[in-house]
Symmetry: C2
Subunit: 308 residues, 2 copies
C-alpha cells in the first residue's frame, strides 16, 4: 500500500448531452481521479484550488472517502473554475461552450508535509510549471510519477512540456494528442517517440476504443466495455487514470505486468463513470459492482487458442 | 474438417495510398477470403465471375492453394469487375474513384455438385438475390451460413436484405452499416436488434479498432493489432472473414467459444493483409508467421487479475 498524491483541477461543470442538461455540478479532473482511486482505499491527498463559492459539502464528499483535502486551497471571495460543454450523438466529440479559469490562474500548490514522501504522484492536466513545482516539493523522487497533459500545453508551453515529460514514468495522453506531440500518425510510432523522450510507460487513451499501454517494445490493450448507453463521457479519462493509479498505489507494484492490470481497472471504473452525469456514478459505486464488471472485462477479452 | 463454399467478387483493383499507387492488380472479396481461409487447408470452392481479360495465372494462384475454381465463371469477351480507390492518412476512410461492374451484373452462380453439401457457406457482399440463390442450391442447410453485406444493399434492396438476414447464422457488418441497418447508434443496441432479426452471431467490424462478436447477451472483442505501418487496408475485412470461416471450417465447431477464437484468427490474418498492397502479403504468408503473431495477440490482450 503506497500513498497517492493527486494534482488536478476542481471545477463547476455544466454538461449537455443528447440525454439532457445538468445544473452546475461538481467537476474537474481531481474529483474524478480521487473518487476513482478511492475504490482502492489507499491513503491519498488532493492538491487543487477552489473559490469560496465551492460548497463545503462537495469537499466533504472527498474527505468522507478518506481523501485528504487540506491541499485544496479555498480562495476567499474567489470563483471556482467553470466549464460547460455539449456532446452530440458521437460521444467521442464535444464542444466546449464556456471556460472561466477564475481562481486556477493563481494556483500555488503546497504539498502537505506528510505527503512529501508519497510513492505515487499523479500530475493531472494543468500548466507544466505547476506539475514541475509539485514534483520539486517531494522529499524524495516518488516511485511512480504519472502525468496527464493535453493539446493546449503543446500549443502554449512546448519547451516546458518536453522538459516535464522527460521527468515522469507514465504519460497518459489521448490519441490525437499523441499524434500532435510526435508528428506520427501511427500510434505505435507515436508511442515509440514518446518513450524516446524519456518516459517508461505510455498510455494512449482512445475513448470508446479503449486504451493502449506501451513499454519498451511491448504493447497491451484494454478495451472500453461496449455499453448500450453512454450517458455522459465527462470525466471518463480522469476516472480511468484514477482507477489506474489507485490500483498501482494499492499494490505498490510498478512492473509492466501490473500496469496491464491497472489499465484494466481504469477502464472498468471509467465504464461506470459514463453511466450517469458527472461524478454521480463514482459517488455511488461499490466493490461488488466493480468486481462483477471486471468479470465482464475478462469475458470480453480472454480467449483460449492453443499455440502449436 | 468441413467443406467451405465462398460466394464473392473477383476484381481488378487499382489502389492509391499515401505510400504509393498500384498498377491494376488482383482484387475482389472472394480472392481475399479464399486466400485467408486457405491457411487452414480446408476443402474450399469459390463462386464468382470474371471476364476473359482476367489472367489465368491469377486463378492458378487459388488452385495452387487447393481452392477449387470451377465455380468461377469466365465470360468470353467479357470484362472483369474493376474498382479503384484512394486512401488518405486516416486509413479508416477511403474514396472510391471508379467502379465498373462489367460481367458481375449478369452473374448466375452455380454451386459445384460436390460442394452442395458444404457445411460452411460464406455469402460475400453481393446482391441478396445472389446470396439467396446460392443458399437455395445447397442440398441441405449448411451447419453455418455467414453473410457479409454493405450499405449499398440497405439503400437499394431493403426488403430482400431483411429476408436474407433472417436466414443466416452469422452477419458480418461494419460499425456504420450496423447503425444504418438498425437506426441504433450504440453498437450494443444495434447488435441486439440484428439478433432480433433472426441472426445467431453478429460480428461488427471496426477497422483499426478491432471487431466485436455478439451472441445472445454475450460479447467478445478482438482488437486489431497496433501496427507501426498500415500500408494498404484494402481487403482487410475480407481477409478477416476468410480467416474466421477458414478456422471454423477446420475445427467444425460453431459454438460461441470457438467463434471467439475464429475472430482472433481473422484479426490475425487481417493484420498481415494490410502490410502490403492488395493480396500480396496473403500470397506470401506461412503458418509459422501466423502462430508467431497469434502470440502477440495473446500478449496484447491477456491479463491476470484475480477476482475476489
Amino acid at each position: 500500500m503506497s500513498k497517492l498524491l493527486i494534482l488536478g483541477s476542481i471545477a463547476f461543470d455544466q454538461i449537455e448531452t443528447p440525454f439532457g442538461k445538468t445544473d452546475v455540478i461538481m467537476g474537474g479532473s481531481a474529483n474524478y481521479i480521487a473518487l476513482a482511486a478511492s475504490q482502492f482505499e489507499v491513503p491519498q491527498a488532493v492538491l487543487s484550488i477552489v473559490g469560496s463559492d465551492y460548497p463545503k459539502s462537495y469537499l466533504n464528499l472527498l474527505s468522507q472517502r478518506g481523501i485528504r483535502t487540506e491541499g485544496i486551497e479555498v480562495v476567499e471571495g474567489g470563483k471556482t473554475l467553470f466549464w460547460s460543454g455539449k456532446y452530440h450523438n458521437d460521444m467521442n466529440q464535444r464542444d466546449t461552450l464556456d471556460t472561466q479559469l477564475n481562481v486556477i490562474t493563481n494556483f500555488n500548490p503546497v504539498v502537505p508535509e506528510d505527503f512529501r514522501d508519497a510513492e505515487v504522484l499523479l500530475l493531472g492536466n494543468l500548466h507544466p510549471n505547476l506539475q514541475m513545482d509539485v514534483l520539486q516539493q517531494m522529499s524524495s523522487r516518488p516511485k511512480l510519477v504519472v502525468m496527464d497533459t493535453m493539446n493546449y500545453w503543446m500549443n502554449h508551453t512546448w519547451e516546458l512540456l518536453q522538459e516535464m515529460i522527460a521527468k515522469v514514468d507514465v504519460l497518459t495522453i489521448n490519441d490525437e494528442e499523441a499524434r500532435q506531440l510526435t508528428g506520427e500518425y501511427s500510434l505505435v510510432k507515436a508511442a515509440q517517440r514518446i518513450i524516446g523522450m524519456g518516459v517508461k510507460y505510455v498510455v494512449i487513451k482512445k475513448g470508446e476504443h479503449g486504451a493502449l499501454l506501451f513499454h519498451k517494445d511491448k504493447v497491451f490493450y484494454a478495451p472500453a466495455l461496449p455499453l448500450a448507453e453512454v450517458f455522459d463521457p465527462t470525466g471518463a479519462g480522469d476516472a480511468f487514470a484514477g482507477g489506474m493509479v489507485g490500483y498501482l498505489a494499492k499494490t505498490a507494484d510498478y512492473s509492466f505486468e501490473n500496469l496491464k492490470n491497472a489499465i484494466v481497472h481504469g477502464s472498468n471504473i471509467a465504464s461506470f463513470c459514463i453511466e450517469k452525469f458527472g461524478a454521480e456514478r463514482l459517488l455511488n459505486l461499490n466493490k461488488e459492482e466493480l468486481y462483477r464488471r471486471l468479470q465482464q472485462f475478462k469475458d470480453l477479452t480472454q480467449f483460449d487458442i492453443q499455440l502449436k
